[in-house]
């Protein structure tokens, strides 16, 4: 037997050990920011996207929460890259739940991530929906 913790899948483990997409951008007209959650409730995220030609050129995050939540935020920065505002408005938390094998007890935290994605879409540079 190994001492590996069965609560976490490989995707969560890999992203917790080497989280990608951590950080923030210098504020500017091409940067959209979305915040969601509450540290007192155990999950808080700040998600930022730098937008070029109506699409996410790069995304970054900062997160306070459990390993599933941090790993999902990291996963999201790559998933959103290349997406339009419409893509962000349609993004559904179930996608990351499946990708990272997140247990049902943590689904509520993924909704917090979805709230942050929606907030980014709401703060989209220029305000208008993408037609690209």
């Amino acid at each position: 037997m190994t001492g590996g913790d069965p609560r976490y899948g490989d995707g969560v483990r890999a992203r917790m050990e080497r989280p990608r997409g951590v950080g923030e951008f210098t504020p500017g007209p091409d940067v959209a920011t979305g915040r969601a959650g509450d540290r007192e409730q155990g999950a808080e995220v700040v998600l930022q996207c730098r937008v070029t030609a109506g699409r996410v050129a790069e995304a970054r995050f900062r997160a306070f929460g459990c390993p599933h939540f941090i790993a999902a935020a990291s996963w999201l920065t790559e998933r959103l890259t290349g997406g339009s505002r419409d893509d962000l408005e349609r993004w559904d938390w179930r996608e990351v739940a499946e990708a990272l094998e997140v247990p049902a007890a943590k689904f509520g935290r993924l909704l917090t991530l979805q709230d942050a994605v929606r907030a980014v879409a709401g703060n989209w540079p220029g305000g208008a929906a993408s037609t690209v």
């Binding site: 001492g3 155990g42 808080e44 700040v46 306070f64 941090i70």
Partner: protein
């Protein structure tokens, strides 16, 4: 150093090799494996002698007479036998008990059972330092109070109330005093006569003995009544039927004998290691000690770490075996009820670590633990959004 540094000695300890050796002498075809109740033959009498020797060793650690010691399966059973057994025996005398909100579930759940049977229980709230003071107990006593139950050492934060003062108070008021000494026996001095303890719950596995064996010390003079929970062969003076596991009993005796001999030296060494650990962690901003700084057992350190989430902190420490709270409650995901009772916020309670040291903890392990925790906290805080951003 081993692959994983073991800092969960409040959950359980490694069996001391000296204890293992004595236990082995009671196993196998050449060992003293016979039923210690079968005193009609020589092997049975040898096993009985082993059991009585162990009974005397257990009694000696807590200043008791060997005849007071009733072997059980552990402290949980001893707590249950003490509370349920005494309350049911004395129910015509009164139906009120006093305990604290930060007791082990073995006591709290037994109290809940008594409430279902018509008893009333007062749950005292400890101070912010985790200590229940004798004055609180005194204020809670009523004419119909039959029993007070307090733990010698809290299993989550390691604080130790003034057991002797509470015992003398109870004795003066004619109220039975039960002490759960699972975490304290063999680590802090305890004497059932000096401390006026009527019922004392003990276990072996917290003090480098085997799991699955404990004892209840029951006052003999004047004789204290208990309604047993198990019926059968009438072993242990009818209070705990069932064949005594000689090897387990012998293991407990050996563990208690060694603990008595090494209490001072182990305590000083482990206490110094805990202080080193605390100083190393306190160098981090936002780290606070849970519980009274000095009225505590040497081996338990509980800290809350602001700015990190508890589950992620544990995840980030794969090289350390430690607890985010009581091992009994850690699977629930709920913030520790002990830390909540101390007034910690849910967030701080959830981001607490219990590091518990034992006889085999080393300075090198403590140094490794400090470096690992500091690195993990620093990394997780760097991922988190700035507070108030």
């Amino acid at each position: 150093m081993s692959e994983v540094i073991y800092l969960d000695n409040a959950a359980t300890t490694a069996v001391d090799p000296r204890v293992v050796q004595e236990m082995l002498e009671c196993l196998g075809p050449c060992g003293d494996y016979a039923n210690p109740s079968a005193v009609g033959h020589a092997p049975g009498r040898r096993a009985r002698a082993r059991v009585e020797q162990a009974r005397a060793e257990v009694a000696a650690l807590v200043g008791a007479d060997p005849a007071q010691v009733i072997f059980t399966s552990g402290a949980t059973e001893a707590d249950n036998l003490a509370l349920l057994g005494a309350a049911r025996f004395y129910r015509e005398r009164g139906r009120h008990l006093v305990t604290s909100r930060t007791e082990h579930p073995a006591v709290l759940d037994a109290c809940r059972q008594l409430e279902r049977e018509g008893f009333e229980v007062t749950y005292l709230k400890p101070g912010a330092d985790g200590i229940v003071e004798p004055a609180q107990v005194e204020a809670a006593l009523r004419k119909d109070t039959i029993l007070v139950s307090l733990m010698q050492v809290n299993n989550e934060i390691g604080v130790a109330p003034d057991i002797g003062a509470v015992g003398r108070l109870c004795r003066a008021r004619g109220v039975l005093f039960h002490v759960d000494a699972a975490q304290g026996a063999g680590k802090l001095p305890l004497d059932v006569n000096r401390d006026c303890i009527d019922l004392l719950a003990l276990t072996a596995h917290k003090v480098h003995g085997p799991k699955g064996i404990g004892a209840l010390c029951v006052r003999r003079e004047p004789r204290l009544g208990l309604v047993p929970m198990l019926y059968g062969g009438g072993q242990e003076r009818g209070l705990r039927s069932g064949t005594l596991p000689t090897h387990q009993v012998v293991g407990m005796g050996a563990a208690y004998r060694i603990a008595a001999a090494e209490l001072d030296s182990d305590g000083a060494r482990i206490g110094a290691l805990r202080q080193t650990l605390w100083q190393g962690l306190a160098a981090l901003p936002g780290v606070s000690l849970n519980g009274h700084p000095t009225r505590r057992v040497p081996g338990i350190l509980s800290v809350s770490v602001d700015g990190v989430e508890g589950e992620s902190l544990l995840f980030a420490l794969p090289g350390l075996a430690l607890a985010s709270g009581s091992a009994c409650a850690a699977t629930s995901g709920e913030p520790s009820y002990v830390l909540r009772a101390l007034g910690r916020s849910d967030r701080l309670a959830q981001s607490s670590l219990r590091l518990s040291l034992g006889r085999f903890s080393t300075a090198a392990e403590i140094q490794y633990a400090i470096e690992a925790i500091v690195a993990a906290v620093t990394r997780l805080r760097a991922i988190a959004p700035p507070v108030g951003s």
